[in-house]
Amino acid sequence: MDNISYNEINDDVVRTMTKTTWKYWALLIFCASMAGVLWFGAWAYQIYAGQGVTGLNTPTFWGIYLANFVFWIGISHSGTLLSAILFITATPWRRSIYRSAEAITFFSVLTAAVFIFVHMGRPWNFYWTMPYFTTRELWVNFTSPIMFDVFAISTYMTSSVIFLYFGSIPDLAAVRDKVTGWRKPVYTYLSLGWRGTDAEWHWLSKSYTFFAVFIIPLAVSVHSIVSWDFALSTVPGLNKTIFAPYFVVGAIFSGTAAIVTLMACYRKAMKVEKYITLMHFDKLCMLLLVMSLLWSYINVVEVFSGWYANTSAENETLMYRMFMKPHAYMYWLMILTNSILPLLFIFKSLRRSIFICIIVSIGINVGMWIERYLIVATSLPRKFLPNMWHDYIPSLIEISMTIGSIFFFVMLFLIFVKLWPSISIYEVKEDIGIPMRKGFKRH
């Protein structure tokens, strides 16, 4: 990155925002319409006709929607959390990727939050889950893990948005100084009158440190709380004490994988290879490798603790998940993508191969989705009373909404790239170093 000038960085980032090819528009419109039809169209139908259009049934009241919810919350974990951790530890390679990563957090939390409403029987009453003064004289039940969720996720979403926006203020100012037309007033207001004085930088970095400090425990708690939606039940297969760390690890795992996938596409599409280099992939894949090993360990612990308990309920759930069609296929595919394929990253050359990175990271995300799906869809159909067991087969509506949510997410990211400096300008400049008379000085 040595031969990049400060000016060039500003130009490149503003270029990603202002120069839009027709292909980009086409992709955006395609994603938007797919999200509209597959997700919101299907959802509208579901609201009209009722939850009955899903494949949910009497023991399996939670299905693919909950799996999607957990999955997207998981994806969110690598943006903000990773960004915050790397910030606190002052890891230099964070700088060119963290902005997009935080955007991923925001968008995936948004997607996840919509799935909460999707899975509700009466989504039009969603506000009843908020604690506010009401003439019905009923508040909310704070013993409910769902209430934990409401609080954790709204806190998480608020904090993530603040974190993302706050870190972008200097860049918004930089964009403000570059753009013309309608963008000018927009970024003028967004940048809050940022000038880059020493005092501003000082307070910014102090506040930013506090945000990072707050975000790290928050992110860990959010996915723990999501896991308690399941773990606080008595249902065999869901009532695992290890779920909290399992979910957090899985979340970082899948989130990192999502970053790898998205970054690989982004750098290619936006021609910003010089900022997001193979070094970044190297580091991220190393993280993936670590997370994969951790995930595999906890997965084994989960299976073993169930197996060791040797109660009929636990055994049946494990059997159903691991050895019975069709879940067995999914289970062993998950083991392949999450535990075995990431081992490729032991080799440095493979860590630096974009192709391998994409394949493995997509695999990991598929695997992590399967993990969440299997947790819901193989535990609930095998509850305590064998008479009431019933398999769960997702309906087309549910599958459509699942696919639609991916388009929705991509659409949000595409819009984000056009509206927001998706590479941190000032921090990449920091990366290059501080210009001294004797050349750049790096931290």
Partner: protein, 264 residues
């Protein structure tokens, strides 16, 4: 001042101690004698008639969306010719430590002053948490807006609401009948007594397998039956403290197996 403090202290204590439920006005309890139950399912139809349960049709039955609040489960053990089929009616167990109540974010299900696990349809937003947490799979969800072909809707019981799409429901221990009994008792200035009311399933049961009453009343039939040596509660190891008490079925062990009999 000290009076207020004492009251506050008392209130605090009552909030903190889980044993508050012993102070309920009534402790409605159902005793199901499995030795009497012959699995005829009269209770199931009685429940359909009393509680306006919709008929969902074959397709929805196929994906296990049948509505019956009370169901007969059957367990077959052994192979021909040494076969035993055992029946057990399962309805909402009205657990005192109900997992469902913990799960509901909006208090749509909670414990009322009678020790009943009640479901407030109007409050329900349909998060499914209660049903997922339920260890007895007794909760039913209104997947659609169910219709009754005219003039079948004329049969609908006006004492019980017809539930809207998107809400959870379950056995209420025929709370509308309890309500009537309590109103009558109140008019007469007394507590509800044995024999004032029967639940629909109890009322219909040809073998008298189901008995319903107040466990707080030491002279009630359920109090006596609850002391039976055959008493057990369903999935008691899960510690949900159900209000439904089962009396074990009297049955020979199958030849050459100790399996399937009680282990606890």
């Amino acid at each position: 001042m000290s009076g207020i403090l004492t009251r506050l202290k008392d209130k605090l204590a009552s909030y903190r101690v889980p044993g508050y439920r012993t102070k309920f006005d009534y402790k409605w309890t159902m005793v199901v004698d499995l030795d009497r139950c012959n699995g005829c399912e009269a209770c199931v139809v009685a429940c359909y008639a009393e509680n306006n349960l919709p008929v969902v049709g074959k397709r929805d039955c196929d994906i296990s969306r049948r509505f019956s609040w009370i169901r007969i489960e059957r367990y077959v053990e052994g192979t021909y010719p040494d076969v035993k089929v055992k029946f057990i009616p399962i309805m909402c167990q009205h657990c005192d430590a109900a997992p469902c109540e913990i799960g509901c974010p909006v208090y749509a299900t909670y414990h009322n002053q009678d020790g009943l696990n009640v479901q407030v349809y109007n409050r329900c937003v349909g998060t499914f948490t209660c049903a997922t947490y339920c260890t007895y799979d007794v909760r039913r969800f209104n997947w659609f807006t169910y219709k009754w072909d005219a003039p079948l809707e004329q049969q609908l019981n006006p004492d019980v609401t017809v539930r809207e799409m998107g809400v959870m429901e379950k056995c209420t221990f025929c709370i509308q009948r309890i309500r009537v009994a309590k109103d009558t008792a109140k008019d007469e200035g007394r507590k509800v007594q044995e024999g004032d009311m029967k639940t629909a399933c109890e009322q219909s049961c040809p073998t008298d397998a189901i008995t319903f009453g107040d466990l707080n009343d030491p002279h009630s039939k359920v109090s006596k039956l609850a002391k039976s040596p055959r008493r057990y509660r369903l999935l008691e190891e899960l510690d949900t403290d159900p209000s439904v008490i089962y009396l074990k079925r009297v049955m020979e062990d199958r030849k050459g197996s100790g399996h399937g009999t009680s282990h606890g």
